[in-house]
């Protein structure tokens, strides 16, 4: 965990409002755990004031290059999307705890379910799991074809199913529809996406084993401000976890969605 001004290597729009940003810096050598995130300052004024949490999507430890994918949403990501090659970005990271990589053994199958802007961290996860000899099946959900990204990249790691809400690509509907329609065999579920998606997964696969990556509005990003706290299932009412420092990845069922 360090703060560093990393250098922009490239920035491009790879789908509708979805940007791929590559940056280079010393601290990137530490980014070995998929599911961790970085906290970016997108301006050197106080507008916007807070940092923006963005997941690690891919890392080349050799060249110390980090790839992030983000959707241009509000003022912060709009400013981020204006960063050009050679400019710097104030990065704090890597933050949080990523997906455990040693729960499965070689030859077993990991099911990766990603929704929208929850897809990025699963890419680095897919690569790491595959390197460890696991089989990867990915189910990726988007609004429509123009919003979809990284399909081919995931295809390089294993089988891929796509769903779009409007049916313009893959199965019409949600990732849960893909899981209903296709008979996918897997040993462990890894998922990241909007809370409604995670809830739907939980409902559809009540006995699911695996890990969810969660999102919450953040202040500090490092565990100091209690902004991102969640209740723990089956704990005392005052029991909690912090998404930023205890998560964002938790065993399925641990955290009250």
């Amino acid at each position: 965990m360090k703060k560093e001004f990393v250098q922009v290597i490239s920035q491009k729009e790879i789908a509708h409002q979805i940007f791929e940003l590559k940056v280079q810096g010393e601290v990137i050598a530490e980014m070995t755990s998929p599911g961790q995130f970085v906290h970016l300052r997108v301006s050197d004024s106080f507008q916007p004031l807070l940092r923006r949490p963005i997941s690690i999507c891919d890392v080349d430890v050799e060249s110390k290059t980090l790839t992030m994918l983000y959707r241009k949403e509000g003022a912060g990501t709009a400013l981020l999307s204006q960063k050009r090659e050679g400019e710097t970005v104030d990065l704090l990271g890597p933050l949080g705890n990523g997906f455990p990589l040693d729960t499965l053994s070689s030859g077993q199958t990991a099911l990766l379910v990603g929704g929208g802007i929850g897809v990025p961290p699963l890419y680095y996860l897919a690569k790491q799991l595959k390197r460890r000899g696991m089989n990867i099946v990915s189910v990726l959900g988007f609004q429509s074809e123009q919003d979809a990204f990284y399909n081919e990249k995931f295809a390089e790691q294993g089988e891929v199913f796509i769903s779009t809400v409007d049916g313009s690509l893959g199965t019409k509907g949600f990732v849960t529809d893909v899981l209903k329609n296709e008979d996918i065999n897997y040993d462990l579920l890894y998922s990241c996406g909007p809370t409604v998606m995670l809830k739907a997964l939980e409902a559809q696969i009540p006995d699911a084993n695996g890990f969810f990556s969660l999102e919450e509005r953040m202040g500090c990003g490092i565990g100091a401000c209690f902004a991102c706290v969640c209740h723990v299932n089956g704990g005392a009412p005052s029991d909690y976890v912090k998404i930023c420092s205890n998560g964002p990845v938790f065993p399925i069922g641990r955290v009250a969605l």
């Binding site: 965990m1 703060k3 300052r41 106080f46 507008q47 916007p48 004031l49 807070l50 940092r51 704090l92 919450e216 509005r217 953040m218 202040g219 500090c220 990003g221 490092i222 565990g223 100091a224 401000c225 209690f226 902004a227 991102c228 706290v229 969640c230 209740h231 009412p237 005052s238 029991d239 909690y240 420092s245």
Partner: protein, 312 residues
């Protein structure tokens, strides 16, 4: 670095800089970034009698040059804090300001009595922005008599000096300050957050689950400066100033307004190194301003005898 030392009741500080309560947890996280011993002091997250989970999320929202928070005083309760959180601070040369909160006088007194005995705690900071349940939800922080009565009770049970943290959401901040001074407060902390709200155009509901939140950050700095300027001329106890501080220049501005020490809250989220960075920039800035010791600046904007600046 002698130029920077300040001495307040119960607080011998190497420099006037401390992280503000609620923005620094119990120090563990920031200890991974720097040696906490460089700080003048540190205010820890509010302690309550019982563990509190706090408010539902979202708990924070961004605003122009500021942020809203409604954490809801989440904390593990005074006993756990004393047992699990304070001991690790022993390894630093760091006076601790223990922020305490409650809904009844009894709550406050119980927490004050206990935590003031902890060897790691140098002073108490009474967070009076909580609603007084007994008086039907009026805030301790907006009624002078209620605040004074609470101060007196807490002073009676506290083994350490007591600073009262004033809320800016009042018609007359000086009246509040004088009331708690009269009641025995050893110092003041000001300001706490301004009450604020943001509404999401998509959901048409407040962004923060608790609806309202406390506004902090650079946006509120002018409000803090004017209140400190006013109160410091009326009271004779020292003030820990805060509200939007994010540079060494801001620290000087707060001290010229009348603060004797300065707390930094929201800016820690923007830059986790902000406290040590400001501390390291202060000596050069004082030199540029022809100031021998930082205490010369206190109240410089209104004191007749303020050393005039030689350089321009």
């Amino acid at each position: 670095m002698k130029k920077l030392s300040v001495s307040l009741p119960g607080l011998e500080m190497k420099n006037p800089i401390m992280p503000a309560s609620g923005c620094f947890g119990f120090g563990k996280e920031y200890a991974e970034f720097y040696d906490l011993s460089v700080l003048g002091a540190a205010a820890i997250k509010a302690a309550t009698r019982e563990p509190r989970f706090g408010n539902p999320t979202p708990r924070v929202a961004e605003t122009h040059s500021g942020m809203l928070n409604a954490i809801g005083l989440q904390n593990p309760g005074v006993d756990q804090i004393m047992e699990n959180e304070l001991p690790h601070l022993q390894s630093y040369d760091l006076p601790i300001v223990a922020n305490i909160a409650g809904s009844t006088e009894e709550d406050y007194c119980e927490v004050a009595r206990k935590i003031s005995l902890h060897p790691q705690v140098s002073v108490l900071e009474l967070n009076i922005s909580c609603p007084n349940v007994k008086e039907g939800g009026i805030q301790f922080g907006t009624d002078a008599a209620t605040a004074a009565a609470l101060t007196k009770k807490v002073k009676a049970v506290s083994a350490k000096p007591v600073y009262v943290k004033l809320s800016p959401n009042v018609s007359n901040i000086t009246e509040m300050a004088l009331a708690v001074e009269e009641a025995g407060a050893d110092g003041l902390s000001m300001i706490n957050t301004l009450l604020g709200m943001r509404i999401d155009l998509k959901t048409r509901k407040p962004v923060i689950a608790n609806k309202t939140g406390g506004l902090s950050g650079p946006a509120i700095k002018p409000v803090a400066i004017r209140m400190i300027h006013e109160v410091s001329q009326a009271v004779s106890i020292p003030i820990i100033g805060m509200g939007g501080v994010s540079s060494a220049e801001d620290v000087i501005e707060f001290m010229l307004a009348g603060a004797s020490a300065v707390a930094i809250g929201t800016a820690n989220f923007v830059d986790p190194y902000i406290c040590p960075e400001i501390i390291s920039q202060l000596p050069e800035l004082l030199e540029k301003m022809n100031v021998n010791h930082i205490t010369e600046l206190i109240g410089g904007s209104w004191k007749e005898c303020g050393t005039p600046s030689l350089s321009r």
